[in-house]
Symmetry: C2
Subunit: 136 residues, 2 copies
């Protein structure tokens, strides 16, 4: 948790109970979740809890690099823990059955500065699969 606390502080943000709780939820389940999912789980822990706070914090934690934004086309936002202890550039592979997230190493895109005349600003890779557990 100290690792995350430092990340938050390094970004000039406050370490609040809500933020620690959100990180704990992700740390505990290692699966990608929607704002609504988080909201539901936070309410078990906090009697008062606002959905706007959840939206704000998920975005803030993604901004800090603590959470990864997961893209799906079902009209929901997803976030997952970006467990990059070493800080090396990576992407994510997610299980379409259970939502488990694993790091995906070996990206050869982040070196390139230009493609097709486009100046590269960012890139996103996501692999969808079925994890060992869900395969049998």
């Amino acid at each position: 948790m100290n690792f995350y606390v430092d990340k938050i502080k390094n970004n000039g943000l406050k370490v609040t109970p809500r933020r620690k709780a959100i990180i704990n939820i992700f740390n505990h389940c290692r699966v990608h979740l929607t704002p609504e999912d988080i909201f539901t789980r936070l309410k078990e822990e906090f009697s008062h809890c606002g959905l706007p706070s959840v939206y704000r914090n998920l975005e803030i934690l993604a901004e800090c690099g603590i959470l990864a934004r997961i893209y799906r086309f079902d009209n929901k936002r997803y976030y997952g823990l970006c467990h990059s202890a070493d800080g090396a550039h990576h992407h994510h592979i997610i299980c379409i059955k259970c939502g488990t997230i694993a790091p995906l190493k070996g990206c050869n895109l982040f070196k390139r500065k230009k493609i097709n005349g486009f100046k590269i600003i960012d890139h996103f890779i996501q692999v969808d699969g079925i994890c060992k557990n869900c395969q049998e």
Copy 2:
């Protein structure tokens, strides 16, 4: 347009004026658009036009491989034309200023069957950049 008509028919779907109009819009502007954008443009051409049809058709055309789904984290869906004349596997690079879409060749992911014990089902790559036009 025949190219698209065939694709639609090959998927057992009907070639309707609405669908042709949507393809025309993308063919004409070569930029990624939201359902709302499309709806606005369709209304210029058709006096009656429903938003549900737009949502349905964008998804259907994406399913056929005619449109590409573009991911952004601004809580809107985006679609763009997937101009794959040769049908070769590819992804897309988009201009974050104007929305222009260009094909991105050379993906080495689609060959792999397994990563980290995950059985690979799908993968998605998107590069965000600034196009030639928008660079100056």
